[in-house]
């Protein structure tokens, strides 16, 4: 440690100084950067793989089988399924990102570096959520870029699409954070993904219009919050949906708010994060 003397001399005044202090907002920015860095270091798993699997859905279900499936409000089937598939890929990515990141941080205890830092609980909660949103947006943009030349889909209502996507992603990022905080094993994380989220997305009208379902399944579908998110995203892309856009956005927001609030409460109180 030959540099000890020199470093110590430089530290002589710094040891008790406030030099470089930029307040808690800086911490939020660095946590967001850390979450994004994790996503892009693992980009083949975190971004590329979901894009490939969703494109395969479009190719197989849309382009191959689509010619035999008719009557989707005057839309080609491959166009009809694109918004739902993009929604499915994005919400799963948002959930997976935060749940895995928080769980790994807890398991290896490096989350302590964040919990002991001079950051407010809301900044930590937001930092993790933004990480999930960024990963999902990277996937969503990639899918849109590929889906446009493949299917010719356009964006009818970009602001509605943006609002629906952001609210939906915040909801699923928050859900991931909650599961990441409560999970005792990695199986807990995958259980929620496979047994809760995936069925809800599939039953939310990704591949079909729920209007076509017989009673009571159409009514049952209306109890699924994912149905409203898929509907809102579809409206943003195609300008049509099974229920009104106002109702869809309201339900998605009503789903997101308690989840985000729950995640916030966990960070504020330290429950399950701090012994």
């Amino acid at each position: 440690m030959s540099a000890v003397e020199a470093a110590s001399a430089r530290n002589a005044t710094a040891a008790v100084s406030d030099r470089g202090w930029r307040g808690g907002l800086s911490g939020l920015g660095w946590l967001v950067r850390r979450e994004c860095l994790r996503v892009f270091k693992l980009w083949t798993q975190t971004v590329l793989a979901p894009i490939v699997s969703s494109i395969l859905f479009i190719l197989v279900f849309g382009l191959s089988l689509g010619a035999r499936i008719r009557d989707f409000g005057g839309l080609d089937y491959e166009v009809f399924i694109v918004p739902g598939l993009i929604t499915m890929a994005m919400v799963q990515a948002a959930y997976n990102n935060t749940s895995a990141s928080v769980f790994q941080g807890r398991q290896d205890r490096y989350i302590n570096d964040v919990l002991s830092a001079p950051m407010h609980a809301w900044q930590v909660n937001l930092g993790y959520a933004v990480g999930g949103v960024v990963r999902s947006l990277a996937i969503g943009l990639g899918l849109v870029a590929l889906a446009i030349p493949l299917t010719g889909i356009g964006v009818e209502h970009p602001l509605v699409l943006l609002a629906a996507v952001l609210i939906g992603l915040i909801a699923f990022s928050a859900l991931g954070t909650i599961v990441g905080i409560f999970a005792e094993t990695f199986d807990n994380h995958t259980f929620v993904s496979n047994i809760v989220i995936l069925p809800l997305v599939f039953l939310g009208g990704v591949f079909y219009s729920v209007v076509a379902l017989p009673a009571p399944w159409e009514q049952v579908s209306h109890a699924n919050p994912l149905f409203y998110l898929v509907n809102a995203v579809r409206y943003g892309f195609l300008g049509q949906g099974d229920v009104g856009i106002g109702l869809s956005l309201a339900v998605v927001a009503a789903f997101a708010l308690p989840l985000y609030g729950w995640a916030q409460w966990l960070f504020t109180t330290g429950r399950k994060l701090k012994a």
């Binding site: 002589a12 570096d113 964040v114 830092a117 001079p118 012994a275």
Partner: protein
């Protein structure tokens, strides 16, 4: 001019875990600013719980923790505490350099300052060759050095070292001692826990012995020896906090005696 507040003040600190374990029992402790303070006690005495309370990593059951006069959970208190935990808890996705820079960022340093300070820490702790290597690829000694570098990264006024030399070789241990001593000489308050009693005797100006979540004794090493009529700190330890553990070890219930002495 009023007296400077102590670096650390615990008032009636109590921690009972969810399983009912009472880790800290109405503990009062004050560590003056600038002091090199040792915290000794057997496993389960409450040392790490105490450190976690100061570092905002547990929910205290009762009592108060003040860092330089500020409640420990405030941002102003948190930014002046540097913690090197007993367990190696490095972010597996980051390189050595990123570990330091991101830590600096969490603690409010500007990017330029964090980068400059990280470069300095990397040189000080002889990690230059591994600066761009991810932390899981480091050897045990390197991880331990990186933990210490991270704790010092944001220039804390109170540095908490929870068994910092556990598992490192003699040469590195003495190098770490040199750096820790130098930090202290610059005015940094140091709170050290260790199972190496000679390390506490060598480094600490004052030592507190805790057992069963309570403060058992507190003095300089010489003062403790005198008070307990002992020739060494080990003897003091055995007479105070180690007695019960050694008795149970003698009854064949554990390795406590070997660990302590």
């Amino acid at each position: 001019m009023p007296d400077a507040p102590p670096a650390l003040e615990l008032r009636g600190l109590t921690k009972r875990y969810d399983d009912g374990t009472l880790a800290l029992d109405n503990l009062d402790l004050s560590v003056p600013s600038g002091r090199f303070f040792g915290l000794l006690g057997p496993n389960g005495a409450g040392k790490t719980t105490l450190i976690s309370a100061v570092s905002n990593l547990i929910r205290v059951t009762a009592g108060e923790v003040l860092v330089f006069g500020e409640p420990a959970d405030t941002l102003s208190a948190r930014r002046v505490v540097g913690l090197a935990e007993q367990d190696v808890n490095l972010d597996r996705f980051l390189t050595v350099e990123e570990t330091l820079v991101y830590h600096g960022g969490y603690f409010g340093m500007s990017r330029a300052d964090a980068r400059a300070r990280a470069a300095e820490m990397i040189d000080v702790f002889d990690l230059r060759a591994k600066a761009r290597v991810r932390t899981p690829m480091l050897s045990g000694g390197m991880r331990r050095r990186l933990l210490l570098a991270r704790a010092l990264m944001h220039r804390p006024r109170l540095v908490i070292l929870d068994e910092p030399t556990a598992g490192v070789d003699v040469e590195l241990r003495h190098e770490l001692w040199r750096y820790i001593r130098r930090l202290h000489s610059e005015g940094t308050t140091i709170l050290l826990t260790t199972h190496y009693l000679e390390e506490a005797e060598e480094l600490c100006e004052e030592i507190a012995l805790i057992g069963g979540g309570q403060l058992v004794a507190r003095d300089t090493a010489a003062g403790l020896r005198e008070r307990y009529g002992a020739e060494s700190l080990i003897e003091v330890y055995i007479k105070t906090v180690g007695a019960g553990r050694l008795a149970s070890a003698a009854n064949g219930s554990g390795p406590a005696a070997q660990r302590v002495v």
